[in-house]
Amino acid sequence: MADRMADPLLVVDRVTRRFGGLLAVNSASLSAQKERITALIGPNGAGKTTLFSMISGFLKPSAGDIRYAGEVITGEPPHRLARRGIARTFQIVQPFGGLTVLENILVGAHLHHRGRAEALATAEEVCRYVGLHDQLDRQADTLTVAGRKRLELARALAIEPKLLLLDEVLAGLNPSEIRDIVPVIRGLCGRGITIVMIEHVMQAVMSLAEHVFVLAEGKVIAEGAPAQVAADPVVIEAYLGHGAAAKLRASHAH
Amino acid sequence: MLSPVILIPAILNGLLMGAVYALVALGLTLIYGVLHIINFAHGAMLSAALFAAFFAFRLFGIDPYAAVFLLAPLFFVLGYALQRFVIGPASHGDDRNMLLVTLGIAVVVENILLLAFRGDTRTINVPYAFETINFGFTFLAVPRVVGFAVVFAVALVLWLILSFTDTGRAIRAVAKEKLGAELAGIDVAHVYAVTFGLGSACVAVAACLLIPTYYVNPTVGNAFVLVAFTIVVLGGMGSVPGAVIGALLIGVVESLSGLFLGESLGQIGIFIIFIVVLLVRPSGLFGARA
């Protein structure tokens, strides 16, 4: 693992979350290096979004700690974390439906800009950056899926975060839309933003992420560089089922 | 004041009264559990049902306990129609709008009743109204005992319907996961309407049980329904056992506080419980955490 010199911006330390009898996240640990893209992958129901909800303050861990920029943030409410610089997008997009695109982003921009003129300027800049500048005045609930994803991203960027949690931001996009949005995401690291992304679109994970964590049934079962993880038999089993890794090896041998 | 001779009947009466509250609360909690809104028209329904039972007796000589079999289906149909053709379409699927629409209906119904029947209090006279049964250590009023029994019968019927009929299963499915139920082909609008109808039928039965010993005027429904709100919140929104147990508890509390504090302050006691529960444990005793 490269770059052990710098302290990770985000450290999730053996975090556990129970829902009644269900163990959704089981002593999971991960870390995200500053200004790098870290991916969190795993089969459906693995607990990835639950983990994000805990990092962003929407859920409290049943056990374990979360540290951001060296400080313990476990259990802090979402708005306080947003002010610290942690932004998240939602897996099921949550636009302010009745407001325009610009008004949506404005809400985020207002976090660090009290005055309306300043906030508007910031919002417009963000809008331009994600490529929505020709739809400033469209009502958010009339956008296409791709538009809504960009809006979700734009809103999160408007709060000027240092850590951006992207929850399946590529889901529902067709290949050309994915191709358009990937460079936007990659460019964010250049602006000083650390990204942790939950993704199912493997091609994007391969091309974007520098470090990957694999979550299955609430536990981290593998981590490493994307190519390494993709070849890991434990990971293959988690996605394709018991014995799949052996079957694959056997079929390759022929 | 604290002698058992006075306390025990007070508690028992509280339980019996609580049973009737339970019936009203059952309707409310059922509607909340499935439609996820509080039916603000519930009180107006009760008032209307009380008047219906009153006129059934006065005009047609139908005994209240017999009227149950007439009014329960009637109010089921009324409730079904109200939800299917007014509340549902008017709300456009928005919870907040549904609240407002039920509020509007409540205001309309109550004031129509006020207009038609004015604020005068009416009562009916049935021969068994003041009869009591001797339980050995105390005497209990016949209507109250009958009421208690009927409530449990109704609760049982409801439980049977919910657990074993197709409609009941559909209702439980919609209550748990509306989108999934819709995708599975369940007609959600119909289920909502059936639930509303069941809730209204409960209210009609409660009215028939109340009328032998209670007075009738347009504002009675309101008084009952605010107690019912308290019960539903205490027992847990959407929980049937919660409604029953909460109702019995509140019945006893009301009886005892009436004994010690007098009528109006007793009412405030209920409200204070209500507000405290909402603030401290909104999910109630048996409700799912929001």
Binding site: S56, P78, H79, A82, R83, A87, F90, Q94, P95, F96, G98, L99, L106, V107, G108, H110, L111, R114, G115, R116, A119, G131, D134, T142, L143, T144, A146, K149, R150, A156, A158, I159, D180 | I38, V86, A90, S91, D94, D95, R96, N97, L99, L100, V101, L103, G104, V107, V108, N111, L115, L226, V233, S264, I268, F271, I275, L278, L279, V280, P282
Partner: protein, 331 residues
């Protein structure tokens, strides 16, 4: 600054009314309508902007009315100071209810219930507590003169309530173009998304409730001074809870002028019904309930929203709205 021009125009027009119309009946009608508009604007800040629907705004109205009346009648406090005290008490009550309910995370149905319960508790207490005169109510002695906030001329009352309404319009406009307003609306549209963007939702909602309480209490204070009599049914009755929510919804929930428009419409409706059917008690409430249901059904955005809908329809002139396929190239 541009946003305030409509307010200036409307207020100027309304202010000139007593110069032209001298009928006491008309002036009285307008005074009451404006008072309801003020109460409704209070509701609008909480319900229209923040999306928290209160079913018990009578709690604030009645508190304003009683505080004003009781301070004068039992403690000899000057009427104007009493007025101010009533507003402060309304604000404080808003802060208390807000802090209690929003910190517990209560929303939607629960919030409506709690506000209803608070209003009812206050009504019951007021109907039995000696300090409010219990069932008999509180009567403010006639003492015409500016010092006692009582005026012979209805026109003066009219201008005073108009002044208060103007203040409420200005506050509503200011909120709308401020950060606070953007946050309120965000909370209304999607509370979780707002939290993720750094909005302290309970604090924002509580502040809205304080402002809301102050405005509706002001309407109550005015009631006491204008009618000189308050009892528990008037102060904390369902009638004002209903009118306070009805007027913004009819006029246009979440708009600046909605409550004003709605109040005029609702009151006109009430008066019109009385003309047609005679003074039947409760008829106006029946109408209000029916109108509430009809408005939500057919024009949920109220009169102002309805106009926008019609304008939009004319602008498109039957042309279909932009289809999604146009978005193909650029998401």
């Amino acid at each position: 600054m541009r946003g305030f021009i409509p307010i200036v125009v409307v207020v100027a027009v309304l202010a000139s009314v007593p110069l032209v119309i001298h009928s006491n009946v008309t002036l009285n009608f307008l005074v009451v309508a404006l008072m309801i508009a003020l109460a409704g604007q209070g509701w609008n800040i909480l319900g229209g902007y923040a999306g928290q629907y209160s079913f018990g705004h009578a709690a604030f109205f009645g508190t304003g009315a009683y505080v004003t009346a009781i301070l004068q009648v039992r403690y000899g406090v000057n009427a104007w100071i009493g007025f101010g005290a009533g507003i402060v008490c309304g604000a404080a009550l808003g802060g208390v209810i807000g802090a209690l309910t929003f910190r517990s995370g209560l929303r939607g149905s629960y919030f409506a219930l709690v506000t209803l319960a608070f209003a009812e508790v206050l009504r019951i207490i007021a109907s039995v507590a000696p300090i409010t005169g219990a069932g008999v109510g509180t009567l403010i002695h006639l003492d015409l003169g500016a010092r006692a906030f009582q005026f012979q001329s209805r026109a003066v009352f009219y201008w005073i309530i108009l002044g208060l309404v103007t203040l409420s319009l200005v506050v509503a406009r200011l909120i709308k173009q401020s950060r606070f307003g953007a946050w309120l609306i965000a909370v209304r549209e999607n509370e979780d998304a707002a939290k993720a963007l750094g909005v302290d939702t309970s604090s924002v909602k509580t502040t809205a409730m304080i402002i809301s309480g102050a405005m509706t209490a002001a309407a109550g204070c005015f009631y006491a001074q204008y009618f000189l009599f308050v009892d528990s049914g008037i102060a904390y009755g369902t009638w004002i809870s209903i009118e306070a929510l009805l007027t913004p919804i009819i006029g246009g929930v979440g708009t600046v002028f909605g409550p004003l428009l709605g109040a005029l419409a609702v009151r006109l409706l009430g008066e019109g019904a009385k003309l047609v059917t005679g003074d039947v008690p409760g008829l106006d409430l029946i109408l209000y309930g029916a109108v509430l249901v009809l408005v939500i059904w057919f024009t949920p955005r109220g009169l102002i929203g309805g106009c926008a809908q019609v304008r939009g329809w004319f602008a498109r002139r039957g042309r279909p709205a932009v289809p999604f396929i146009n978005e193909a190239g650029h998401g």
